[in-house]
Symmetry: C2
Subunit: 330 residues, 2 copies
């Protein structure tokens, strides 16, 4: 390499890779320190019954992106967000929504394949770090991030740091029991967890329950039951559909009660919500806020902000995962 | 002062005052750095409708003790634990169980009276610090302290530090809603909080409910209803009283469910229980543990220790409050 070329290489700012592994698909991208996603792509998680073939395919796709920014010499490390990902051990343990069962040493497998430092945490923790560095929680030291997607995830930041717990598994707020002896969660076998109501499946089940309870007219009756999601409920609600509105009211009642309990745990400045359900805006936020306030004792009332993540949805997961790399080095 | 006397005074190790303010009574004492309570006493909280007369009486009693150890020059500071006490602001805010309403600048009032540095936090946070320095949680970085007394208090330690939240009010786990639309808490007006079941009043109300539901024989029928407490229920249970056992089973079911939710929040190494209810030993611990495990998702099962505080009850509150003083100076 000529001296001029070497100087140019040295002056290039380091980059981070962010990988967000979901039950259905995996998103990944290359991110600079300011939170700009330079290149990104995605692939299927679901089709890989073996984690090894998953990592082989990830390596092929990511190497293409890494080559575009000048090769792996510029990459500071890989940050990975995944359900049940453990920051301390680098393993995924018993993730009900992933195809790989038991304990998977994911960070080590990725690190060995890419020969780059790799750090893992659960997807919602990664999202929380992303919000703190680039998003709605910028500058906050105490907040809770709740992701309302296929499942309900959470990342809790207290005094400026993620709460990881003694074993790295803290922050499984989607599995807290809000309605004792309530709805069965088929993945965990538990009854009445927040996730069984406030996830995509939860909203669908609520719709089916409310539709079957009465014979009231509803636009939702024209949709095959298993295709009902919060987007379709939203579309019906803004057309004045009373049943659709009731679905959001019911979901907001449970979510609000859950949020009240979380507030009385860690007294956050804000709760940041992210995911499909938040697209319903005030239709879900108003009942959520109302029931949160109704269940808070006086000392917490009218203090806690409920914010919607304003990160671009396609980037947010990648940003959050990549942010782990900068955290790791500071 | 002679040179010899001055040298002797300098060599005396510094001491801390611990003050634990409860709804009924206030305990206070002088504690050395190793957790030995050198002198202690108590007085009524309840009879003081004005916080000023409370502090006047406290000053009289405490000055006697301070004089016994050689005067206020040896006192590093005063640590105060009180319901709804706020570490950041030094105020007690809207404490339902105290005679003083609204916002009371307690730390400032005490500091002005004694002319010594004063630090305040809520009673359960103080107890948690005490357990971490001298008790069952010694050496732990992640644990939750639950006090089961007149009320249900909590102090949460994560990564070696108290979770105080954005405003200093974190850790009000007694007020989290465990049974939506459940039993009314007369102090807060909320329904179904942990405190409405697992406090002294809660156990009494459960006893009354179970006794009135059936005509089954029970030793508890010989006791005036309002005098039923966990001690009397325990005494009946060890004599084989089936109703008494059912009271603990019911209370343990609710407490266990609550603990499961707390575990899924902060993933503690242990939960330390303190207070009257814990005297019932396995009668309350077994159902609590069983229902905690039953509500935990797999990743948390069979990990979390439930420990009983082994600090001497009369000292524990004072120790915890005094420990704040050493925390303040390190």
């Amino acid at each position: 390499m000529s001296k001029a070329k070497a100087a140019a290489a040295v002056s290039l700012e380091p980059l981070a890779v962010g990988i967000d592994i979901g039950g259905t698909g995996t998103k990944f991208g290359i991110v600079d320190r300011n939170g700009n996603v330079l290149f990104s792509s995605q692939m299927s998680t679901k089709k890989h019954k073996q984690v090894e073939t998953f990592i082989d395919e990830l390596h092929v796709h990511l190497t293409e992106l890494i080559d575009k920014v000048g090769g792996s010499g510029r990459i500071r490390g890989l940050g990975v967000g995944a359900p049940n990902g453990n920051y301390y051990t680098g393993t995924i343990e018993y993730a009900p929504n992933l195809p790989w069962k038991g304990i998977v040493p994911l960070a080590k497998l990725i690190q060995d394949k890419f020969q780059l430092p790799t750090i893992l945490t659960n997807d919602a923790n990664a999202a929380a770090i992303g919000e703190m560095m680039y998003g709605a929680a910028k500058g906050m030291k105490d907040f809770i991030m709740i992701t309302l997607g296929t499942g309900v995830g959470s990342g809790i930041v207290a005094n400026g740091h993620l709460i990881l717990g003694c074993d790295g598994f803290a922050g499984e707020l989607g599995h807290t029991i809000i309605i004792p002896d309530g709805r069965l969660h088929s993945g965990t076998g538990k009854h009445g967890s927040l996730e069984s109501y406030a996830s995509a499946t939860g909203v669908m089940l609520t719709a089916i329950e409310i539709l079957s309870k009465t014979k009231r007219k509803s636009l939702l009756r024209d949709i095959p039951k298993e295709e009902i999601d919060s987007k379709k409920v939203y579309e019906a609600a803004i057309k004045g559909d009373v049943v659709a509105k009731e679905i959001f009211d019911f979901t907001g009642k449970i979510l609000g009660l859950a949020l009240a309990n979380f507030v009385m745990f860690s007294s956050p400045e804000a709760i940041v919500l992210f995911g499909g359900l938040t697209k319903a805006g005030d239709l879900i936020l108003n009942p959520t806020r109302e029931h949160m306030e109704a269940n808070l004792i006086q000392v917490f009332q009218n203090k806690v902000k409920i914010l919607i993540s304003h990160l671009k949805e396609s980037d947010a997961a990648i940003l959050g995962a990549s942010a782990l790399v900068w955290e790791m080095n500071t």
